[in-house]
């Protein structure tokens, strides 16, 4: 039962939500700002890095994953891992064939 107390319903306070909101707005400003600067191959890298940071904040705080059960955390981790694995394998297949020839 101590397990239950550990996972007892956690109410995230509005203060946290406001901080996350501001962080997300700053992130949006940063990613739009970065798109106005010529950075070559780094443009997509930075845009995606900021998008991942924003998504992580949403998942951890708006979606309460930071306070949820280990089962939920592990499932999300497994899904992200599988998703990246699927993309990686698909890309490996396409790149190792006649890339762009059809």
């Amino acid at each position: 039962m101590s397990e239950h107390n550990e996972n007892a319903h956690h109410i995230v306070s509005p203060k946290v939500y406001v901080v996350i909101l501001l962080a997300l707005l700053v992130g949006t400003a940063a990613t739009v700002g970065a798109s106005f600067i010529e950075l070559g191959v780094w443009n997509p890298v930075i845009a995606l890095a900021i998008a991942c940071a924003k998504a992580t904040l949403v998942v951890l705080y708006f979606m309460h994953v930071r306070y949820s059960t280990k089962l939920t955390m592990l499932s999300i981790g497994a899904a992200v891992f599988m998703f990246l694995g699927l993309i990686g394998m698909t890309l490996a297949d396409y790149i190792s064939r006649a890339w762009g020839l059809w």
Binding site: H4, N7, A8, H9, I11, V12, S13, P14, Y17, V18, I20, L21, L24, L25, T28, T31, V32, A34, S35, F36, I37, E38, L39, G40, N43, P44, A47, L48, I50, A51, K54, A55, V58, V59, Y61, F62, M63, H64, S68, T69, L71, T72, S75, I76, A79, V80, F83, L86, I87, T90, L91, Y94, W99, G100
Partner: protein, 242 residues
């Protein structure tokens, strides 16, 4: 005979196959996450297609992306982030049993969701007017002769594309409409459910201890927000300097 014994007092929303309210909450929360993870795989397929085709038909995807308006995209991102915030506040109001606050939060989320769709409509209409919707009426004009498209040309000074590459801009717009369209469909479904929740919340539902529905809907709404965060970066931003 043992019915009375078996039926101890419990909150009316605790289903009999669960041991406790916490177990029920954890279970429904986990189920919602499993649904969202299938959604990750669903959108993931579209994102993977975008990744491969963008690298394949790179010049066409850059030229196609230049047709999108960063200001509308940014505005929509801000609208959606605000709606996620109002949704999160709605969950807090439900948890702390504030009926008026909940109705207000859900209503604001509802309105921001409609604003997002309104802005998306403006963007779609522009694509229709410019004949950039894939299909029989698709026009290659802006890509074969970029200087004829003054508004875009003054910002990007794109070089003309060869005919075969210009044709591949249609792939870009196919993915643009597939991805933003599926996202918009999720928004429409979400707004519908929000309407239902506002109606129920006014009658006092969700603010008497049973917050699961609001909480799990919040997960859905935030997920849709995350999809847009990636769509915005990939469709609008990353090709601006190429």
């Amino acid at each position: 005979m043992a019915v009375d014994e078996a039926h101890d007092e419990h909150p009316p929303y605790l289903r009999h196959h669960f041991e406790s309210v916490e177990q029920q909450a954890d279970t429904t929360n986990f189920a919602m996450w499993l649904f969202l993870l299938t959604e990750v795989m669903f959108f993931g397929g579209l994102f993977t297609a975008y990744l491969i085709y963008r690298n394949w038909y790179y010049p066409a995807f850059v030229a196609g992306s230049h047709q999108l308006n960063v200001i509308w995209g940014t505005l929509n991102t801000v609208v959606l982030i605000l709606s996620s915030f109002t949704m999160a506040m709605g969950v807090w109001c439900a948890e702390t049993r504030r009926r008026k606050g909940l109705v207000l939060s859900l209503s604001l989320t509802f309105i921001l969701g409609l604003m997002f769709l309104g802005i998306k409509t403006i963007e779609y209409r522009e694509k229709i007017e410019r004949h950039h919707v894939p299909g029989a009426h698709y026009s290659l004009q802006s890509f074969i002769d970029p200087a004829s498209d003054k508004e875009i040309y003054s910002e990007y000074h794109d070089k003309p594309l060869a005919l075969d590459m210009a044709r591949h801009t249609e792939v870009y717009f196919s993915l643009y409409f597939a991805m933003t369209g599926m996202h918009a469909l999720h928004m429409i479904i979400g707004i519908g459910i929000l309407g239902f929740m506002i109606y129920r919340a006014r009658a006092g539902a969700y603010t008497s201890g049973h917050v699961t529905f609001v909480e799990n809907f919040g997960l859905y709404w935030h997920f849709v927000d995350i999809v847009w965060i990636y769509l915005f970066a990939l469709l609008y931003l990353i090709s601006r300097h190429q």
